[in-house]
């Protein structure tokens, strides 16, 4: 089964005179899928539509076989917004316990999950410190840990590596690969082409329109280019004509 199916998915923002879509897109299960494009191209809007945090103006999106607003998805999908939504006064442990309880975890199960995620994100030592003392990278890792709390089948990650140092980005990508191998579908947004190259499949977006969606090697082959940057330019120019 495909993890996400978008059909004619469109969202209008009349006040800003912006339209995102229509987008037809399939995200296969168990892949790392990248929504790739510059700032303002509609990546975040698409992720929010998939997360059910926005309602389409036209078309529909199906997530794990359910409508994106279906409440059952809340336990099966992990969502991480572009901005770190954290409580500055609370520690990482307190965040994970709180959101874990919101996901219905409790007792030993919750304690084990908190320990596991702290260890996976390298936040064990800082786990009891208030988040206001954290660096940007630590906040990002905590945000990701929260999205992973419910052991989701699908992860929606909006710019998960933005502002992180290369070492941390490398570690996170290793983690994404592990999760994907274990069967988790990961849909992430990025504007970095080196990250796009690591995805199993990518979708190029520009000014609210979908340029292409395919495996990175296939995009290079079809555009007869050597890099994804060049492929993006070629597709954008073709679109403009």
């Amino acid at each position: 089964m495909d993890a996400i199916v978008c059909h004619d998915l469109t969202r209008r923002f009349p006040q800003a005179h912006i339209t995102i879509g229509p987008v037809d897109l399939i995200v296969p299960s168990g892949t790392v899928f990248g929504l790739v494009g510059p700032s303002g191209c509609g990546k975040t809007t698409l992720v929010r539509l998939m997360a059910g945090l926005l309602t389409p103006s036209r078309g529909h999106v199906e997530v794990l076989g359910l409508g994106s607003h279906d409440h059952r998805l809340r336990r099966r999908v992990g969502y991480m917004a572009q901005a770190d939504a954290l409580y500055p006064e609370l520690s990482a442990v307190e965040h994970l316990r709180f959101f874990g309880a919101a996901y219905g975890l409790h007792g030993k199960g919750l304690a084990l999950r908190v320990d596991e995620l702290l260890s996976r994100t390298g936040l064990e030592k800082a786990g009891l410190r208030a988040v206001r003392e954290y660096s940007g990278g630590m906040r990002r890792r905590l945000s990701l840990a929260i999205a992973l709390l419910p052991s989701p089948s699908l992860l929606l990650l909006d710019e998960p590596t933005i502002g992180l140092d290369p070492l941390l980005r490398r570690d996170l990508w290793a983690w994404f690969t592990d999760l994907s191998r274990a069967g988790t579908t990961i849909l992430l947004t990025t504007h970095a082409m080196d990250e796009a190259a690591r995805c199993a499949r990518i979708a190029f977006l520009r000014e609210g329109s979908l340029l292409t969606a395919d495996a990175p090697q296939e995009v290079l082959r079809r555009t007869r280019t050597q890099s994804l940057d060049d492929a993006f330019i070629a597709l954008a120019e073709r679109e403009a004509v």
């Binding site: 945090l53 309602t55 409440h71 917004a81 939504a85 954290l86 959101f99 996901y103 219905g104």
Partner: protein
């Protein structure tokens, strides 16, 4: 510096709410206050026993509407607040029973009655035997004035605290994150309600202890009932704070709501005497939750009313909490699927 000034004007020009707060709100508030200060003299209703016609005329000239009723009806009128006093004549001289829930009214009515009795046509003894149904000389100004003021401050601080906290939840993005968990909006609002309920309970206990302890105010009714009322009033402030911060776009807007939503609660709820205001302005109070809180606080603290006597006030306060809480849940549902 000039560039900064120009920039501030550019920002202000594009922010009509701030402009309204800067220019319209002060004018409106000063006009409203002028209605209290420049008030006309009020005619108070006084129930009377059998009085000679000349005394009835003197009472009328002194600015009192005298109504001849039986002693039983007079007591009922005093309890309901319809009459400000009951004047009767006995063999030992004139006897005055003041309702006493408002010290200002009691003082004015007493003065006018003394003035009517002292009129040359009366030839009555000036020795007026005065008693109070509620309060009285033993109740100082603090005992009269603090309970309603206390109710207002509990409401106000609960509004600020919950409003700012909930707005931060929105602005820092954690509300969206919460709405993406299996938690329902009802659970989110209830969680806030419970947490601020505990804060309000502690705050109420501290304030009541200060008012009726070191500050020396007296109360006639049940302290437990005053505690319950404090909690309800604070919860009223919490739901209003949550609702307006759901609607507000910034912390500043939560503050901007204060002259519109909070100040009228202080002006028209009965903390200040409303008798002298135009009828339509007095009616504004009927739609403000603080009116019912102030009434209940006075009736318990000064008139020693019990739970059943203030059932109407409690029903209104509970309805206010439930309606605003429900509205907030509905708005969060909408936000969950924007």
């Amino acid at each position: 510096m000039l560039a900064l000034t120009v920039r501030l004007f550019q920002q202000l020009r594009r922010d009509p709410r701030t402009l309204a707060m800067a220019f319209v709100a002060p004018l409106l508030l000063i006009w409203l206050l002028s209605l209290f200060v420049g008030a006309k003299a009020v005619r108070y209703r006084v129930d009377v026993g059998a009085l000679p016609p000349s005394l009835m005329q003197s009472l009328d000239r002194a600015g009192l509407s005298a109504h001849q009723v039986s002693g039983e009806s007079a007591l009922s009128d005093l309890k309901s607040g319809r009459a400000a006093a009951y004047l009767s004549l006995s063999t030992s001289g004139p006897r005055l029973l003041l309702q006493g829930a408002s010290p200002q009214t009691a003082q004015v009515v007493r003065m006018r009655i003394a003035q009517a009795l002292a009129a040359p046509a009366q030839g009555q003894s000036l020795h007026l035997l005065v008693r109070y149904l509620y309060g009285g000389p033993g109740f100082g100004a603090l005992s009269y004035e603090l309970p309603p003021v206390l109710a207002f401050f509990l409401f106000f601080f609960a509004y600020i605290l919950s409003g700012i906290t909930f707005l931060r939840e929105r602005l820092q993005g954690t509300l969206e994150r919460l709405l993406y968990t299996p938690l329902r909006p009802l659970a989110i609002v209830s969680g806030y309600f419970a947490a601020f309920g505990v804060v309000a309970a502690v705050q109420s206990a501290l304030v009541l202890a200060l008012v009726f302890g070191p500050l020396g105010a007296r109360y006639a009714g049940s302290l437990a009932l005053l505690g319950l009322l404090s909690l309800l009033v604070a919860w009223g402030g919490v739901v209003l704070g949550l609702l307006l911060s759901t609607l507000a776009r910034s912390e500043f807007q939560v503050i901007q709501f204060i002259p519109l939503v909070i100040v009228p609660q202080a002006l028209f709820s009965g903390i200040l005497p409303l008798d002298s205001l135009p009828r339509w302005l007095q009616d504004v109070g009927a739609v403000l939750p603080m009116t019912y809180a102030v009434d209940a606080f006075r009736r318990v603290a000064i008139e020693a009313n019990g739970f059943s006597d203030i059932g109407g006030d409690i029903t209104v306060l509970l309805s206010f909490i439930l309606v605003l809480g429900g509205l907030n849940v509905a708005l969060l549902h909408r936000r969950q699927a924007a």
